[in-house]
Amino acid sequence: MVQEIILSLKEITKIFPGVIANDHISLDIFKGEIHSLLGENGAGKTTLMNILYGLYKPDKGEIIFKGEEVKIHSPRDAINLGIGMIHQRFMLIPRFTVFENIILGQPSEKPPLLEKEKLHEKILRVAERFNIKLDLDVPVENLSVGTQQKVEILKALYQGADLLILDEPTSVLTPQEAQNLFKDLLALKEQGCTIIFISHKLKEVMQISDRITVLRDGKVVGTKKKLETNFQELSKLMVGREISFTIKKKDVQPGREVLCLEDISMKNKKGLRLLKNISLSARSGEILGIAGVDGNGQRELADAICRLQKIDSGNIKMLGQEVSSSSPRRLYEQGLSYIPADRKRYGLILNFTIAENLILKDYYLPPFKRGLFLNVPYINDYSKKIIVAYDIKTPSHLVQASKLSGGNQQKVVLGRELSKCPKLLIVMEPTQGLDVGACEFVHNKLLDERDKGVAILLFSTDLDEIMSLSDRIAVIYEGEIMGEVDPRKADVGEIGLMMAGVKYLEKEVVDG
């Protein structure tokens, strides 16, 4: 089957000092296909696409688009050629309506007039053609993340893009929203759009793509048709070694109750309920998974346990003691470890070195402190030990955390939190944004801790993760526990329903 090539990258090379981000990458994209770029974080996917979108200049190589060699100096050039990019973080102005966001940055046809009605009409026509349903007059801040993504896609299409680049589009979506996105992408494909889909998630790549190109360490290691490949092959290409997909869990008899929540409620400043009558308990040697769509009170619950936010009513007992009069620091000293969700924001100080990050919770205690000063030699030795124990890939313990990949950053956080031998571990989204290898590492570490007898509270929006790691699963929806299930007996559909909540379903019906 001979297909028309819409885009051809030849020998693209981009060198950052010390790193070859793209090493002679050659790649053909067929017209009308969904082509996935698969690779671990740091494999060079985003760099490549940023070159294509005019954000970086390649050191070598050429780009042939629709049969002609092109030089792309800026995103404006890319847009004029018909290349649209949907970034991981949306470039929308929250206060503006969908309509205003779409026309933002577009020159008016008849300046200084804006001709809103005409533009409105034009956008609706584009939306209709690609079967995208959107209310143009709603402020973007009122839309769900999935819908905001639709706005970005419509904006690109309106600008005349027939080649769309989506950079890790599902990383911000719920499973349901991801499925909706895939439907939309298939519809776009039918209309003749070409789509480059960047991801490190094997499962969705296998679901959506026609062809898959795997990148590793800045090089293309293979391009496969979806129909002719499988998980094992792709993951091996991606990581360079075999990955086991089944998690082996030992049977551990849960011990005594470590955490007990009784009837916890919390309101925000406006009086809105964030947590409603939550009662839970976690015992040593078990992982209690808390499933739920992002933003349903997980963070508030975790923060409440750590005393980072105040609850309005209810009791929290850790190791049989009421915690309501403790400070977070006191709880950490008593054996609580907390790995927050957004590690770059809550877990790490990016401009600090690895060594400095590793002592973030203990810097004031001997042996990290000696007299009035930090015990620098001890901190250095300690850091080196953790770097070895947690396999943190870095030239030195004095490298800034911001210079590490996501996986290695998470290892720094894990190293800090787990090396204190906690009794209770609260983990949020431990594998968000991590590649397959790093996920495996994190999962194994968590299971090790469980086997050692730590009580683990695992918050995750990744249902697969919850299903495979947890001993028990509680589902949270709008600050309320919808129910508890046994992962060995429950099916995904049942949990998914609870995650969505009955109210959510009703809403969909009304909207539809």
Partner: protein
């Protein structure tokens, strides 16, 4: 420079770049200044030459550099500490005046003490005065969330005018024509290290405190805490660090350092409280701190440069008649370019290191 051994050792080129750029900017500014001098009808080469020769060729004039160096370094350290702790204190000028007031009061009204008690006592008073003035802005931020940039700068004006008022109506001797306080006691004068020059105890004190601030920030748990709060408030909070206590520490130290700037002028140069105590040390100190990327040891270097330029501006006017406004313009250009170069070096390092993903 910045690595105490638990600090980063970045890629070397990157570091070299970041260090070179501000100085490059400095020389470009000098060049633009030369153009201005030329436009004023004066030979710029001669002007700069005169500046260097007259200052380095004469110990007494050279020692004048230190009259500016001491207050400038305290102001720069004040900004740097606050900045590291995430508190944007730009009210050095006002805190300087308040510290000068409290220091001068101790110097004037406590008499009969030996110098080794009187000097530390006056310094302590100055520290407390500056810290108090900064604390007002701090408490407004912590309790009401009021923006500290606005508050510190507004409080500066308040402080300057207040000191003016206090001197005129309370401290001025009844028989004096001039709005100035009495002289402080001899025992509160900074002893001169080199006789007949302006090199006095203040210089040693300033250098010592710069080193202490460095050790505090990079080698002590409290400084670690301060930096953690400054770099990432939320992560520090999640790590159990007491944000309010940490921020207060920063506010007190930062304000106190500015207060010492004022006290050092009173005890080292003027020996009395006068309304026009500072020709803008507070603002220039910020420039020096930014140029040194808020590193206390770098600040020693940059403040010396600024102090030198101040004396140089006077020398150029005296020697070859470079009008003062041109010297101010050169100083302004240096500030703008160096501050801009901060942005530039960030950008360059971002481009060089790149987003790897």
């Amino acid at each position: 420079m910045e690595d105490g051994s638990i600090r980063i050792k970045q890629e070397r080129y990157n570091k070299v770049f970041i260090t070179i750029i501000p100085f490059g900017a400095f020389f470009i500014a000098l060049f633009l200044g030369a153009v201005l001098i030329f436009l004023a009808g004066i030979n710029p080469w001669e002007a700069y030459n005169y500046m260097l020769y007259s200052i380095f060729g004469n110990l007494r004039l050279f020692s004048e550099v230190f009259t500016h160096f001491v207050p400038l370094i305290f102001c720069a350290l004040s900004f740097a500490v606050a900045f590291k702790g995430g508190f944007f204190n730009v009210g050095q000028e006002g805190q300087l005046y308040f510290g000068a007031l409290t220091g001068a009061l101790v110097g004037i009204y406590i008499q009969g003490l030996p110098a080794f008690i009187h000097i530390p006592l006056a310094l302590l008073a100055g520290f407390i005065g500056g810290a108090f003035w900064c604390w007002i802005a701090g408490i407004l931020k912590i309790k009401l969330g009021a923006d500290e940039i606005l508050n510190t700068i507004m409080l500066s004006y308040l402080s300057i005018l207040l000191i003016n008022f206090i001197v005129m109506y309370f401290l001025k001797p009844a028989n004096s024509y001039i709005s100035q306080s009495e002289k402080i006691a001899r025992s509160a004068y900074f002893p001169k290290i080199i006789p007949n020059t302006q090199i006095n105890l203040g210089v040693i004190l300033a250098l010592l405190i710069a080193i202490i601030v460095y050790i505090f920030l990079f080698r002590s748990p409290a400084g670690y805490e301060v930096r953690a709060i400054g770099e990432n408030l939320e992560a520090a909070n999640h790590a159990g660090i007491n944000i309010i206590k940490g921020t207060m520490t920063v506010i007190i130290i930062s304000g106190g350092l500015s207060g010492l700037a004022g006290t050092s002028i009173v005890m080292g140069t003027q020996y009395r409280l006068i309304p026009a105590l500072s020709p803008g040390y507070g603002f220039e100190g910020i420039g020096a701190a930014v140029m040194a990327r808020n590193n206390p040891l770098g600040i020693i270097l940059t403040t010396f440069l600024f102090a030198f330029l101040r004396v140089g501006a006077g020398a150029m006017q005296r020697g070859v008649g470079v009008p003062l406004p041109i010297s101010w313009a050169i100083e302004g250009i240096i500030m703008i370019l160096v501050t801009a170069s901060e942005y530039l070096s960030n950008k360059i390092s971002a481009n060089l290191i790149g987003g790897r993903a």
